[in-house]
């Protein structure tokens, strides 16, 4: 993981200032770089009209202080509050190519996890460069922060944000280490049916980083669970995110109370958390990590 990451970064390090595109009044300087998938692309040296193709990208762009360059974003982008005023270009899975083109962006920033490849190809066929991030995991998310910072000439601010995130993650790791025992944590992201996050997901990584053991760790991806399977799993901590909109989360929590044999239920450790900080690979994920660490190891709660 870290090996391939550093290789990717090595790709990016030499950012060539290339040629001038003449002719039009506002001749834009271009540079060539590689995105997080290792695809070569040519982007403006100073992107001014940026469309974020995912909510997480929007949050990162704002985090590095370039929110004012966003001319378009996806339907559910609601953080920070300034993002609400930006025009919408469909959902990250179903992008509205026409509307994106009509916004005349000089750069789109997308995500491998959701944006259809065909949509990226259509945009590139229109001459719009699409930088694709691949933020699978905390380290890769932080790498995306640095990359997007470099892309938008906000490397300094991005470095500040990224190293702060790294410092906070290290702190959580330190505390988790001192706790020793790793409680079995069941992270519930779906209500009906019960869905959790297994290996290979960033929620899995989050649980481990917070000093817990993922109770759904024997599965990969996003497994479904029946009530009897939950009894067998016997998690010590249950964390329910408010991912499914409109569901009654107190009712979900009460549903767990039917099984007092489950250690988490017996010990009163069934918690509801705000999905917004957990379901987007953006800097707020570290807020989620800290919150999770407090739930997993309340005995060594952070100041």
């Amino acid at each position: 993981m870290s090996g391939s990451l550093s290789r990717r970064l090595a790709h990016l390090a030499p950012v060539f200032l290339l040629f001038l595109v003449g002719g039009e009044a506002a001749a834009a300087e271009k540079r060539v770089l590689f995105d997080q998938l290792g695809r070569r692309l040519e982007v403006p040296a100073e992107p001014r009209r940026v469309v974020a193709l995912a909510e997480s990208v929007t949050e990162i762009v704002f985090a590095v202080g370039r929110g004012d360059r966003l001319v378009g974003t996806t339907r559910f982008a609601d953080h920070p509050p300034e993002a609400i005023r930006i025009p919408r270009v469909g959902t990250y899975i179903q992008l509205d190519i026409e509307r994106i083109a009509a916004l005349r962006p000089d750069l789109c920033i997308g995500t491998r996890d959701g944006n259809p490849r065909a949509a990226v190809e259509r945009l590139e066929a229109l001459g719009i460069p699409v930088y694709v991030t691949h933020p699978m995991g905390l380290a890769a998310m932080i790498a995306s922060v640095r990359e997007i910072g470099r892309l938008l000439n906000a490397a300094e601010k991005a470095e500040e944000v990224a190293s702060d995130l790294e410092r906070r993650i290290a702190q959580v790791a330190l505390r988790a280490q001192s706790a020793g025992r790793r409680p079995r944590v069941f992270f519930q992201i779906g209500v009906d049916p019960v869905v959790s996050a297994g290996r290979g997901t960033f929620l899995h990584e989050l649980i481990e980083a917070a000093g817990g053991e993922n109770a759904a760790g024997e599965a990969e991806g996003y497994p479904h669970y029946s009530p009897e399977h939950l009894l067998r799993l016997a998690p010590e901590v249950v964390v329910i995110t408010t991912m499914s909109q409109g569901a009654d989360f107190e009712a979900v929590r009460r549903a767990w109370q039917r099984f007092p044999r489950i250690p988490a239920v017996r010990d009163g450790r069934v918690h509801v958390v705000d999905a917004a900080v957990f379901n987007r690979p953006a800097p707020r994920l570290v807020d989620g990590l800290e919150q999770l660490a407090r739930l997993v190891h309340p005995e060594i709660a952070a100041p």
Binding site: R75, R88, G90, T91, I93, Q94, D96, I97, E98, R99, A101, A102, R104, D113, G114, P116, A118, A119, E121, R122, A125, L126, G127, E220, G221, Y222, P223
Partner: protein
């Protein structure tokens, strides 16, 4: 028995339907979420530079492939409906209702899961799936049941339900990210149309439509009943398999590119028959033109009706098509 080719009528039908198709194409180009409108389109067509240069890209690089793909799919599915209605002598037959589109979808999904590149292998897998369901259908049709020719339609409906279950099964047992975007494709989606897809479908459609036109006299004789057709010297087996293979090919490729678009093969063939009579030598070109126009307009509705985003065009075709089915069923009962 063979009447001379009704050239004059074919030309008349074409003269009537071509302007319709042209109007549909223009409407399909003019409106959409990226702005535009007829005025801007006519300026672009006349070569007058537009105030907003991006509009030209939107017209020619985004909407044109989309409109063309819609036209081709519409033509393919209408022709498919026409062929099955003749072959099965059942006014309610249509590729989607008979489960042939569903079979093609299974083929396409298996192709994606096997890691085949969507182009052209995905389309071939889709063709294989369509051919497989057609084979099953023919097998079921050969059984003698008390239900007579309705048995075939019922078998088709069941094949369709079965295909739907297999598709949901495949989606639920794999957490494959490649199936992540499959739901909108399943509902029929033209929003990501690209020129390569248009070229592929155009080549297949042109070849198949020409071949079907060549077989249209045989299709006329099929209307008289299989025994009568055989006694008139129609090579029944060869004609049947020829028609089935051609339609499977067209429908398979169309499904692999555009997803499941239901009931299209019902609406246009019936309307054309009402307008121009039962001669397939007229109906084949008529269905091509009218089906193309119909699908372009359905796609336009899918684009402009929702206030935010768009809906899959399959929703529009089903909203129009399913009531048509009921209407035709009522007429067939009388």
């Amino acid at each position: 028995m063979r009447t001379p080719l009704p050239l004059a009528r074919i030309v008349r039908v074409k003269l009537l339907l071509l302007p319709l198709l042209a109007a549909a194409v223009l409407a399909g180009l003019a409106w959409g979420s990226g702005g535009g409108g007829p005025q801007a389109l006519f300026r672009a067509l006349a070569g007058i530079p537009l105030d907003d240069p991006v509009l030209a890209d939107i017209f020619w690089k985004i909407r044109l492939p989309r409109v063309l793909l819609a036209a081709l799919t519409g033509a393919v599915l209408s022709l498919g409906g026409l062929v099955f209605q003749a072959l099965l002598r059942n006014p309610l037959a249509e590729p989607y209702i008979l489960g042939i589109s569903g079979g093609a979808a299974i083929g396409a999904i298996l192709g994606i899961l096997a890691g085949l590149p969507r182009f052209p292998w995905g389309s071939l897998a889709s063709f294989a799936g369509a051919l497989g369901t057609v084979g099953l259908l023919v097998l079921f049709a050969s059984w003698k049941t008390a239900l007579g020719k309705d048995a075939l339609l019922l078998s088709g409906v069941m094949i369709n339900a079965f295909c739907g279950a297999v598709i949901l099964f495949l989606i639920s047992v794999t957490s494959d990210v490649r199936l992540f975007n499959i739901l909108s494709w399943l509902m029929g989606d033209l929003s990501l149309a690209a020129m390569e897809q248009v070229v592929l479908l155009a080549a297949v459609t042109a070849a198949c439509a020409a071949a079907l036109f060549f077989l249209s006299h045989g299709m006329n004789l099929l209307l008289l009943g299989r025994d009568a057709a055989r006694s008139l010297g129609v090579p029944l087996e060869a004609l049947t398999w020829g028609l089935l293979t051609l339609t499977s090919l067209m429908v398979g490729v169309s499904v692999s590119l555009c997803g499941l678009l239901g009931f299209v093969g019902l609406v246009m063939p019936h309307l054309m028959r009402l307008l121009f009579g039962p001669d397939h030598r007229v109906l084949v070109p008529a269905c091509v033109l009218a089906g193309a126009s119909y699908m372009i307009l359905c796609d336009l509705l899918a684009r402009v009706l929702p206030r935010q985003g768009e809906m899959p065009v399959g929703v529009v075709t089903a909203l129009i098509g399913a009531p048509t089915f009921i209407f035709l069923l009522r007429r067939a009962v009388r």
